[in-house]
Amino acid sequence: MPEAPPSPIMLAPPRARRQGLPPLVLFAVGWLGLMLGVALLANVVSPYAYTALDLRNRLSPPIGFGGTTAHWLGTDELGRDVLSRLIHSIRMSLLIAFGATLIGAVVGTTLGLLAAQFRGLVEQAVLALVDFSASLPFLILALAVLAFFGNSLTLFVCLLGLHAWERYARIARGLAISAGAQGYAAAVRQLGASAWRVQLRHVLPNIASTLIVSMTLAFPEIILLESGLSFLGLGVQPPATSLGSMVGYGREYLSRAPWILLSPAAVIVLTTLSVSALGDWLRDRLDPSLD
């Protein structure tokens, strides 16, 4: 056979593995890092106490719009420093959103995997709960619970955690059943693996990408839900503050002092965007076949 000239495709250098992070992910990581840092060090970095009044500087605009360096992001109608309130709101909202997302994911995934593992009665019970939860308007449930049991932060986080659990339960159950019916989970089971080994070592890592995407979808929803409940006066109670309640109370001054509302709104947008971008990237990285 005559020696063929090497084809140009062969000579091309192998495609470089993705180096470094894409810019959006870099931004997302930086922003979420900043938010976490601010949340952890809220008492250190905030220039004033978030309840401190400065009555002589009420509705003072932010710096650059005629404000002074005393209040970088301006003040609200009671003369409270918007930057200090924003910092404490970030702490509160992140605590609620991360806490509630994690609770929802853990509860939902656990119930979904249990349903897939035991089938029969357990599955029927879980599915009935899922249908119940999906058909009940969450806002009404939240109103009822908060009205009857009073409002504490722990209760509030747990309540919001119940918001999206049924989604994780459905996804986990469906994916676990399809993995068990044929393919890798059935193969590992016939190797003699215990149910827990199959579920935790094989099924959970394989469905994790879907669950992570679901979490990044639920996170912004929970922030918005918290805002809505706070706006209705059922969420975070004054004097405590959160991003949602800042937006809610700032609404009245939208035309005269938009900075009260705009700065927490910008934080909400950037944080939810960062979580989505990071979740998307994480999903790709967790899948070894998508390199």
């Binding site: 393919g183 890798y184 016939q190 094989h202 070894p288």
Partner: protein, 327 residues
């Protein structure tokens, strides 16, 4: 055979409920209907038949992956424990399965080295890197391929990885469910050779399920032909595949492509019958070119043929009925 069988299955039965339409009455489907077989150490039983005839279900029943609705499986003379029990799980080290779709059978998030080591960890056997490398070398993979993910391997290499995992606990029985159907023809030959080679080296029993008659003939010591959930003929592969006694086996054998052969293929009229609506008498009689009245009335039993003792379930082959004079 003088030696006691490693595994003996008697009258295996598997029913599925099926509902037609939204309000239809549930119909019982017998996927496997009274299959008996025995597997001996170091021997291979080939199981052939068209798709949907219950081959794979038989394989799963034999391994005890599904409970049998009737009959039973005895492993080394003792009944098979019910699926999921600790005794059943411990027994998995002795019997293993090779799947048709190797990509589906492997966890795509774990490198194959970790997956080959998994049965060792499950059954508490030492699972060192050297042992994994040895297993990989055993099936013709390089030890450095242990770090590869399933999607980075070719189809043949994946099937080798599945084999390495199945052989990790040195099982006494290997059930191969269409192990070569998803592979290229050139790779099929390699995997077949590997299977016979591994059997010669380790001496395990094999149940080889396939619709590829030539593959079955190459690896099997005995072959059984299945039709609609029942074994219709069984015997030595050369005898059964040279001179099939059952009309269905004859049609199957005539479908093997043969260069230079002039003989006409036997074309079976009609579709394989619906297992939910099994014909009365011999299940094959509506498609059988030589069916007589008896075939529609009475189901033939699988029993040795008077002449040479081959097991066949057919009234005509047994001589219970005679072929009417050709019109």
């Amino acid at each position: 055979m003088s030696e006691a069988p490693l595994l003996e299955a008697r009258g295996l039965l598997r029913r599925y409920g099926m509902r037609r339409g939204l309000l239809g009455r549930p119909v019982e489907v017998r996927a496997v209907d009274g299959v008996s077989l025995s597997l001996h150490r170091g021997r291979t039983l080939g199981l052939v038949g068209e798709s949907g005839c219950g081959k794979s279900t038989t394989g799963r029943l034999v391994l005890g992956l599904e409970p049998s609705d009737g009959g039973g499986v005895a492993w080394e003379g003792r009944p098979m424990p019910p699926p999921g029990t600790p005794a059943w799980r411990a027994l998995r080290a002795r019997m293993q399965m090779v799947f048709q779709d190797p990509l589906g059978a492997l966890d795509r998030r774990l490198p194959i080295g970790a997956q080959v080591a998994e049965p060792l960890a499950i059954h508490g056997l030492p699972g060192s890197r050297d042992r994994v490398a040895e297993l990989l070398r055993d099936v013709g993979l390089r030890p450095d391929q242990a770090a590869r993910y399933p999607h980075e391997l070719s189809g043949g290499q994946r099937q080798r990885a599945v084999l390495a995992r199945a052989l990790a606990t040195a099982p006494a029985l290997l059930v191969c469910d269409e192990p070569i159907s998803a592979l290229d023809v050139s790779i099929q030959a390699q995997v077949m050779n590997l299977l016979t080679e591994l059997q010669a080296r380790h001496g395990m029993a094999m149940l080889f399920i396939s619709h590829d008659l030539r593959a079955v003939r190459q690896v099997s010591h005995r072959v059984a032909v299945m039709y609609l959930g029942r074994i219709v003929e069984a015997g030595k592969p050369d005898a059964v595949l040279q001179d099939p006694a059952h009309p269905y086996a004859r049609a199957l054998v005539s479908a093997i492509p043969h260069p230079g052969r002039r003989q006409a293929r036997i074309l079976l009229p009609g579709d394989p019958p619906n297992p939910a609506d099994r014909p009365a008498g011999c299940a094959f009689h509506p498609r059988c070119p030589m069916a007589v009245a008896l075939c529609a009335r009475e189901a033939p039993a699988l029993k040795p043929r008077p002449g040479d003792g081959r097991l066949v379930a057919c009234h005509l082959a047994q001589g219970d009925a005679t072929l009417p004079k050709a019109a």
